[in-house]
Amino acid sequence: MTVALAATARLVDDKALIQGLGRREGMIDVGQSTMTRRRFLEVAGVGAAAVAMPGVMAACAQTGSTPATTSSKLSPATLSLFISKDTAHPQQQSQLMDLIKQTFEKQNPGSSFTWDTYASAAEEQTKLETGVAAREGPDVFEFGSTVVPTAYASGAFETITNSMWDELGGKKAFFQPQLAMSGPSSDKLIGVPWSGNPYALVINKAMFQAAGIKSPPKTWNEFVDAAKAMSNGKDSWGTAMAPADGFDPWHKIWLFATQMGAQLMDDTGKKGLLDSEASVQACAFWLDWMANFKIASRQCATYKGADEIKAFASGNIGMQVMTGPGGIPTYDQGAVAGKYEYVVGPTVPYGMSSLPAKAKPAQGFVSGQYLTIFKYSKNKELALQLIKVMTSPDIQYQLFKLRAQQPVVLETFSKHPEAKVAPWDALYDAELKSYPTPFFGSWLQLEVVLGKAINTIAQQIGVTGTYSKDALKAALTQANQQLAASIT
């Protein structure tokens, strides 16, 4: 690369060469000569680009291959950490990071870290992509569970070896379901669980009472019945949904499909099954909430996740399905404050009386945040030390106390029983009934194409009030084709 750049500089600066060229092509008059120089600059520009390109590539390949230093003594350094922003608890997040910093600096004299945040999945992924492509980025990346497979596919993150796990207190120290999204198999784990995001059903107790419903639904038939009882078709609805969200649709469809014993993607991760009968059924069930059962307002057709949370907080929605703890601060400020409860949600598919064969009584998919070590970090061992601090039971407890996040280190719960007090008890139970999504890099593509297909139909429902199964099937088939084209 040095050569390429130097060459560029030389090309542009070399007046003799420029004049030489000028002389060759145009000695007619001054105007011509300058014209040629101008042209030369252009040629030089393009040439520089052409010269630089292989240079860039070669340099790229080189910058990445810094071997991991495995000296036993860690030299002090300043790490960088890239984590998700906690908008609901901004000051508490800073407080927590300060606590982590204090502990880390005490345990590793001379070392420290800086931290940066991302607010959206898009920012998270963009940073991952640019960082990996350039082989330059934060030492420690925090990813959501469904991004971990993509991060793994890129091959740019360190495998946490058994000895490294031992350093962190052993795999057994962690909430077991979480480890399912740490890597494709137990010897290829790249993510260390850092916080959990369990999904459960949230109900509006006041509305349940008003409708005379005694207990939360156990089957989806009961769910639909209860929801119907709470809907008046105007300003009170049994449930809400967010089909316009980029990610929400696949959450729900995955849940229904899993409870039916179906898969959205085959075991090789190379073939999508979005056009299967079960997938169509799962999608239809969800969309029917608006179109047929009329238990969710048609207004939901434009909802994104946040709109759904706000709607439930307004106190006019009976149940919110597959909801994480992220909504709690909102509910506590809204009309629903004091009237809501997290409960274990229905598991028996609509139209069935018991779970079918191969079906899983899922409450949600394994969700939460994971810490990974960037392969091109120069301080991998120190990075592990930082992760060690962050996953210590004390910090995990602070994570719960300050930021209302679910801890993932088991000792936290035994040391601090309050981490399992309502609503966290239901969430804890729900977490135990979470199942991993397929650990394939292609899952991300499935999320997007499925979301688009659902969204198309949901819009039809929003505008016309109804949809056809054929249109749904066609949308899912096209989604599956796009998925196939992106995988191969």
Binding site: V12, D29, V30, G31, T34, R38, L41, E42, G45, V46, A48, A49, A50, A52, M53, M57, C60, A61, G64, A122, Q125, T126, E129, V132, A133, R135, T150, A153, S154, G155, A156, A244, D245, G246, P249, R298, Q299, A301, T302, K304, D307, K375, G441, L444, Q445, V448, V449, G451, K452, I454, N455, T456, Q459, G462, V463, Q478, Q481, Q482, A485, S486
Partner: protein, 323 residues
């Protein structure tokens, strides 16, 4: 640009600079190319080189599996172009839709912006008490970050709770539950949002162009009885034509390329009417990691957008080289 040939014959234009000879050619004045070297160098490094790399990427299967070592991403030739351009390709309908959406969006916004912006420029070019204040206020929509603008209009157009629906129902003009963010209305929601946010750009350009017209031209025109609309048509318009042309082209291109607004207003699964090309490209490259496909789509977008650029240049060149 002011040449005798281009001055309208209906009105005499006094003081218009008359060029005795063509510039540069045969002139003893050497062109100071050093003045453009920094610009050219920067553009080469920061714009053209990345474009070349992106073009290379469009020929590879760069995705989440190969991004860690992207130089070794498999070379797939024109496959991504086939996928998007062949009628049977899996992304053909998606691309076609996006091109349609982008064209509709950029042309509509530009068509709406031009009169609004030109009107404001003409208005605030005249003497008016508090003119500096007005001029600065006009720029407010432009200062509001696009991200905020998108959220603002999403709230305004939200069905049920948005201002538009509340207003419509209060005035009994429509249902409170009219959908603006999905279906065909979504295009209008986005157009309105973008017109409001972006019109100051053309306004500024027009205002600056109006500054180049010497005041005495108007005096002369007034004496000739050509004030008001005729003055505008015969004096003002011809003189700012090239700037306006540039404004039309740039506005069309900028709107065609607007990514943040549709992305924030509609997210990654937008209604097809607003699934504009940049959004489609972003989703394909950065959300689903299909960088090769995204790059190929970008190259197609680039090819499309060169059309107005070249058309403009042809028109502009006529003016430049009038003899």
């Amino acid at each position: 640009m002011i040449t005798p040939e281009r001055a309208p014959s209906a009105v005499a234009v006094p003081h218009a600079p008359v060029r005795a000879r063509r510039p540069a050619r045969g002139s003893p004045l050497r062109a100071p190319y050093w003045m453009m070297t920094p610009s050219v160098a920067l553009l080469a490094l920061i714009v053209f080189l990345p474009i070349l790399i992106a073009f290379y990427i469009s020929l590879t299967g760069l995705n989440q599996y190969t991004i860690g070592d992207w130089l070794r991403a498999p070379f797939v030739g024109l496959r991504h172009y086939m996928d998007t351009l062949e009628p049977q390709g899996p992304f053909a309908s998606s691309l076609f839709n996006s091109v349609k959406a982008s064209l509709a969006f950029s042309l509509l916004t530009t068509a709406l912006i031009m009169p609004i912006a030109l009107g404001a420029a003409l208005l605030f070019n005249q003497s008016l008490p508090g003119r500096a204040f007005f001029r600065a206020m006009m720029l407010i929509p432009y200062i509001i970050p696009t991200f905020v603008n998108a959220i603002l209009w999403r709230l305004v157009f939200m069905n049920g709770t948005g201002v538009v629906d509340q207003l419509l129902s209060a005035l009994h003009l429509g249902s409170r539950e009219t959908f603006w963010l999905i279906g065909p209305n979504s295009l209008w929601a986005m157009v309105i949002a973008d017109v409001w946010a972006a019109w100051p750009f053309v306004y500024l350009m027009s205002l600056a162009a109006l500054q180049t017209i010497p005041g005495e031209l108007y005096d002369a025109a007034t004496i000739d009885g050509a004030n008001g609309p005729r003055g505008f048509l015969y004096v003002t318009l011809p003189l700012i034509r090239s700037t306006l042309g540039l404004a039309v082209v740039l506005s069309t291109i900028n709107h065609f390329n607007n990514f943040t607004l549709p992305y924030v207003m509609f997210g990654i699964s937008p209604p097809e009417q607003v699934n504009v090309l940049p959004l489609n490209i972003f989703v394909n490259s950065f959300v689903t990691f299909n960088f090769g496909l995204g790059a190929a789509m970008s190259v197609v977008a680039l090819a499309i957008m060169l059309t107005p650029a070249v058309l403009y240049l042809r028109a502009a060149r006529v003016g430049d080289e009038s003899r």
